[in-house]
């Protein structure tokens, strides 16, 4: 076929050519379909949307050229007979690979509304650009929904496991406590009734039994308290307390361990009462845990210094030990429970006291107070608690 010279162009040819230019510019193709649903005329780019591009187009049923119309024959007949104004297939995905996806809109309307027998006009618009944008938005939204579902499911499972853990803890702690109380009680009884001329190693063995059973009891209490706090069960029953008397009470409890390990305990507190508005049991627990922590960190024959005082409507308590100190990195997260869980690779006597430091912080904070630790490696560490002073009866 030869291309006609400009002088040979007829008005019809020029019009068809102009239409094709417009069609290409707007990424649109078209086809005219007769009443038998056969293609009778197309734009030059129509062949690009036909699946089998080597096939003859004119005279073929539209369903043979575009799969999309298989099953839609009835819809096309509705348009052809004026029962429906159009048949619109939106965002038809084309392309095998996801990144080369093309989106096409197929719109079929009567060629002439007044003369339906003239057949149909099929307009095909390439909407890849806007559809890809829409796809990205929907993709993000769907992924976010899936993530929400996953989070909700994991949270539900965590709650179930947490309940299971609490139940397990409750049962095992109570089952452990009973025999432990007997071991500790009988060991203490035996140690008090020993004949004077007994083998010193037997005394030592008994001291170990008592000390270890005390430590184990302490550990069990911490586990129970931790679980209680994590379940949101921390409630305070505040009253006016004197810190001096609480310190005295705690010292009585740890006296055995202090003497046993030949540690020097110095207490420097004012003679006058240091009044606090606090839950006495919890305050006892705070002081006990801090002193016990100092005991774990202090080698034999070394010193622990307990100091307390009142300043600026606060009561402060400082417990200083002569231990090896705490590294800078560890000090940053010393009150963080999960730090201990992930970092504690060696199981030592301090294991329980690390859990108790987390508990101390929880309890001090619950009293609107603060606790901090400082240390110099090789020169021991200092734990300081600051709590609001009780004023005007509170």
């Amino acid at each position: 076929m030869t291309t006609p010279s400009p002088a040979e162009f007829t008005p019809a040819m020029l019009a068809a050519s102009a239409t094709n230019v417009m069609v290409m510019a707007h990424r649109i193709a078209y086809a005219q379909i007769n009443s038998d649903l056969m293609v009778v005329q197309t734009s030059s780019n129509f062949s690009m949307v036909v699946e089998q591009q080597d096939t003859t187009i004119i005279g073929q049923p539209i369903t043979a050229l575009l799969w999309e119309f298989v099953g839609a024959e009835e819809l096309l007949q509705d348009v052809l007979h004026g029962r429906s104004p159009s048949c619109h297939l939106e965002q038809i995905n084309r392309g095998k690979t996801d990144d080369k996806q093309v989106y096409l809109d197929f719109l079929v309307v009567p060629l002439n509304k007044q003369h339906l027998d003239q057949g149909l006009l099929l307009l095909i618009e390439d909407r890849t650009k806007s559809s890809r944008l829409q796809q990205t938005i929907i993709q993000d939204r769907n992924e976010s929904r899936l993530l929400q579902h996953q989070i909700a499911r994991v949270n539900k499972e965590l709650r179930r496991l947490n309940q299971l853990k609490s139940l397990f803890l409750f049962i095992s702690a109570h089952d452990l406590r009973t025999p432990l109380t007997s071991i500790n009680g009988y060991a203490t009884l035996v140690s008090k009734r020993l004949p004077t001329a007994v083998d010193p190693s037997i005394i030592r063995y008994l001291e170990v039994i008592i000390s270890e059973s005390n430590r184990m009891g302490h550990l069990i209490n911490n586990f129970i308290n931790l679980d209680h706090v994590e379940q949101g069960g921390l409630t305070l029953q505040p009253e006016v307390c004197d810190l001096n008397s609480v310190i005295e009470e705690v010292v009585n409890v740890v006296e055995f361990d202090i003497n046993n390990r030949h540690i020097v305990l110095d207490i420097e507190t004012p003679d006058s009462p240091m009044r606090l508005w606090a839950d006495r049991d919890k305050l006892f627990y705070i002081v006990y845990n801090l002193l016990n922590n100092a005991l774990q960190r202090t080698p034999q024959n070394r010193r622990i210094l307990v100091q307390a005082g009142v300043a600026n409507e606060t009561v402060w308590l400082q417990i200083q030990n002569d231990g090896n100190g705490i590294t800078e990195e560890r000090l940053k997260s010393i009150f963080n429970l999960y730090y201990h869980q992930t970092k504690a690779t060696t199981r030592s006597r301090r294991e329980g006291s690390e859990l108790s430091l987390y508990m101390v912080k929880m309890l001090v904070n619950a009293h609107q107070g603060d606790v901090e630790a400082s240390s110099k490696h090789g020169k021991g560490s200092v734990f300081t608690v600051i709590l609001p002073q009780a004023l005007d009866g509170k």
Partner: protein
Amino acid sequence: MKRIIQKKVCLLGDFAVGKTSLTRKFVEGRFDDRYLSTIGIKISRKRLEMDTYTLNLLIWDLVGGANFSKSSAKHLHGAIAALIVCDLTRPETLDGYKFYAEQMRAVNPNAALIFAGNKSDLVDERLISDEKLQIISKQLNGSYLDTSAKTGFQVETAFHWMAEQIEI
């Protein structure tokens, strides 16, 4: 030479249940773990050699979930069967079974409905029981089977069940 017949079937279901993955597995025999949400309509073709004819099965994979609209429903027109898919690890995707069944029946009252519980390979994450799915499918007057686009489990069966709905 055998007669060639072209028939249309649809895949319906909530978003991310695996409609596109099932189709891809059946048509191309491959599976991709990445999730890519479908918008609009994805039409795939699979040639099946039957005893007396060749079937060009045109599989319409339609957008799922909130994006399935009234205009999506009209695309069901002319389908001989639908595979309605839920994700066995997401119970909320089962809620769509009834909706999609109604949409399909409203357009094609005689169409066969096949219900698929997809992602059956995720055994530990499964949250919908087989019994429940059987009961719901029966209530909606359809057949049920577990599928896995990942392993290919019962994928062929699901599509062949649809192909067998053709009356010639």
